[in-house]
Amino acid sequence: MNPKHPFAAVGAPVERVEDLRLLRGRGKYVDDLHCEGMLHAAILRSPVAHGRIRAIDCAAARAMPGVRGIFTAEDIAQTSKGSIPTIPLRAAPLPELVRFEQPVIAHRKVRYVGEPIALAVADSAALAEDALEAIGLDIEPLPAVAGWRASARNDVLLFEECASNQPITYTASKGDAASVNAAYVRRERLRVQRHTACCMEPRGLLALWDGAQAKLEVSGAAKVPFAVRRALAQCLDLPEDCVDMIEADTGGSFGVRGEFYPEDYLVPFAARKLNRPVKWTEDRRENLLASDHAREVDMEVEIACEKDGTILALRGRAWVDMGAYVRANASVQPCNIAQYLSGPYRVPNIHVQSTMVLTNKTPVGTYRAPGRFEADFFRERLFDMAARDLAIDPVEFRRRNLLCKEEMPYPFATLRPPERKGETDSGDYRIALERCLAEIGWAEKSRLQGRLIEGRYHGLGIGCFIEGGGAGPRENARLVVEPDGSVSVYVGSANLGQGLETVCTQIAAEALALPMERIRVFHGSTAHLKEGFGSFHSRSVVMGGSAILAAAENLRGAIRAAAARRLGCAVSDVVIGEGLSASQAAGGKTLALSESVPQGLSAEGTFASHHHTTAYGAAAAHVAVDARTGRIELLDYVMVEDIGRIINPLTARGQAIGAIVQGLGGTLLENLVYDEEGQLLTASLVDYLLPSATDFPHIRAILLEDSPSPHNPLGAKGGGEGGTVAVGGVVANAVAAALVTLGVEPRELPLAPQRIWHLIDAARR
């Protein structure tokens, strides 16, 4: 690409093409969709965490006026050859995990509060909810397994036939960590609490069954429409090309929304059974009970270093609370915790084990920076404790161990099973660290460390991080020349609110030398392409964007070939100019696009890569802690991240700020709390505390593009999650630094006022 041509859209801070439509209220979210004869579904969810279903009495509910159908496991088994389909593993499916897949509807047993037991379909959503109240449930309660310790005892089993509540233990290893004999060793037990993405728009589905054609169309797809189609077609025993997943506008995903859930089966099932369109909109309580949870992990972690702070080894053991089942992408978090514990640092010897433990809670999945947020909290906390023990400045400790440019690419620990290797790609990590220190004013402010000023203790924390992105295997794009000379771009990535249309438009405009107004982007629906992979692992720009480049190259080739025929010259003589006009080189005749190509000319492109990108950065926080109340005020937060080539600085910055705020939510506010009976105590937004607009006014995100990725033609790196990665460790380090004179060492998130107050209170006694 030539960055100098007049349509050099890549890198320009253009406003989002989505915004005008959305801000004017013209967005169409799935709940905005209506169609003739549409029915509404509501789901009866288990009120108990663990139990045996003795009977479900639907007679009264079925007899209610306006109720069109009540479906339970029995009805589903009848239609699907006697068995209940399960949610297939999407990411890293291993045979040992298949046994723990979630049935699409509770069958004989319930294993968490919120598990679907029956589906009611009625003329209105209110009537469907009324019907749920009329269903008689007889469940024999079983003891609930509410935490990893109880789970590990295996005396109460979630799956009696499996003899264990631990589906698998992953091991990440490198060098020989066991035999490292270091001058300094510190072992700590740390914990990250259960929390999750709470998308502003809850999930929703509208399923349409066309009985005559035996075709199913499902609106409300997000994230991975093609994978969900595959799973759904399989479960419903339909050919894949008889199912279309359609994306509407989407109010957030963050990894949580768009995976295959029980409802993704139940709602289409009902539509087919009743031969009527069926809509379901998740309400907020369901959203907190039924959408994937994330992040809950206890870890014992040990650092071994030289007296000068040079790290020799990291050893550890993590217990990841998976909830009741192993859902579609649940392996990502435990794997990432183990493999990426070392982050951006030089760690020659690693041995980390990460065990999945089942409990009677909502199943977990990926949430922005899965496993990395947790691992970074553990690592950066431990680094600060080690640095203090060794009387080394925490910044110096990091400088000493941070990877250098010359060491790139640097290998991570190898994960098993199955064997997964990985390495960093490119970059000079110190640049980001030094910039971050300069931006927050570390040198001047470090004299505030631990000082009590006007009743509050001040502290500064620092941490470095990496962010993985750009997962393969490939992505596809198709470009179509429209009669008006514009080009339609179809891409397999999904828009989740992250500005995909804008960046894809920029990439296509530049590659085709067209103004942005002449590009229209279509995404996220299985009807557009034969195959697509979707949006996760910060891959949409890296993979989808690169696929658009490939398709653009092919389109230019096709235009050249067509023009050569018209012009009667060799293809190599044709030059493509502005507006995709074609001319014979050396001042020959010029053909406008419409003259050179047949209508509807299209070209496809694929970008394949198994190399992940590694964005990297550093973050710093300045906090003031009121020791009387435990309240932490964030006075300043700075993140500096190098994300390779930046397509749009505005959207990239928006992503970074949003990612930081979500990290702050997980660090200071959000907590999915269960009681001993496995009841979720935070099932509304009164108790599940999300950050709001006034909570964190002092956030800065600075994005660098010093180190383009060597692995894709754009040079881009995944950049949507990095902001989240470092927050827990950095803010906890700042709080620890503030309260150093009180001897307070936070080992667990969230840093809620009550927790901080109790830590101070305990330290005083």
Binding site: S124, A126, E129, D130, T629, G630, R631, V673, H758, D761
Partner: protein, 285 residues
């Protein structure tokens, strides 16, 4: 989260409204701002057979100031209080406390009457009413009675209101010039219900001795109430730092706070002490 089915009435007179509630015999509910009632219905925690919308009842949305103090009609909204510039001097404690209530949208709808009737132990208005010895005028089929705020609240979400009674007005006694006061609360986020809060005032005499101390607590209690021992620790003393710290310490021992998800009883106790210290120091300064 769809509302269960219910009948709806929108009477134009107080008598009519009361008659509808009486006929409902406990299954009818008044609808004011709807900011507490409708969510509880959406959660299907309550399912009234009839909602009696107070929207058209005349005369209940006035804030009147007089010799005897401030009168707030039951339909006065948080927004009305916030916008009434007279209250800054006529009742500064009320104005300050109400500034902590909820968020923009809720403040535009939530009402004084609905809030008092809902009787959340962490709500600010009951705290102000109890601390200031307010009176509530209640109208039912048998006529109107006046109840002291201190006697109105029985416990969390529980009051002496009969099924057919409506709050029509709350009367806050006149606020003398020279009164020293403070209001402090601790909530996890701006606009959230307080984990603990205190309202406090006293009237210093010519020698600067604190008289007529009134100290009320919200959040760290089962219903808003005054702290008699903490008041006694302040009354008759110069309101210096020593007296203030002593009163706050007594308050921490005097409250009987609940434990919940967000705050243990011990933490709430400590909050009461800190907040009262801060409120009284502010009052004294």
């Amino acid at each position: 989260m769809k509302l269960p089915a219910f009948a709806y009435a929108c009477p134009e007179t107080l008598e009519e409204a009361v008659a509808l509630l009486a006929a409902g015999a406990g299954t009818a509910k008044a609808l004011s701002g709807g900011q507490s009632l409708l969510p509880t219905m959406a959660f299907r925690l309550v399912a009234p057979s009839l909602l009696v919308d107070l929207r058209k009842l005349p005369g209940l949305d006035r804030i009147s100031l007089g010799e005897d103090g401030v009168r707030l009609g039951a339909k006065v909204r948080w927004r009305d209080i916030e916008r009434d510039a007279r209250l800054a001097s006529a009742h500064p404690l009320l104005a300050r406390a109400v500034a902590h209530v909820a968020h923009y949208q809720i403040r535009n709808r939530g009402t004084v009457g609905g809030n008092l009737a809902h009787a959340d132990p962490a709500a600010e208005m009951p705290g102000v009413a109890v601390t200031c010895d307010a009176e509530l005028a209640l109208t039912g089929s048998k006529g109107t009675r006046v109840v002291r705020a201190a006697d109105f609240f029985l416990g969390p979400l529980s009051t002496v209101l009969a099924d057919d009674e409506l709050i029509v007005e709350v009367r806050l006694p006149a606020w003398p010039p020279g009164r020293r006061w403070g209001f402090e609360e601790f909530a996890l986020r701006r606009g959230d219900f307080a984990l603990a809060g205190v309202a406090a005032y006293y009237d210093p005499d010519a020698e600067g001795i604190a008289r007529n101390a009134h100290i009320g607590v919200i959040g760290a209690c089962h219903r808003a109430h005054r702290l008699a021992r903490a008041e006694a620790a302040l009354n008759g003393r110069a309101a210096d730092e020593q007296a203030i710290l002593a009163s706050a310490e007594v308050a921490a021992a005097e409250v009987d706070p609940p434990t919940d998800l967000h705050a243990s009883a011990a933490y709430r106790r400590a909050l009461v002490q800190t907040l009262l210290e801060r409120a009284l120091l502010r009052a004294a300064s």
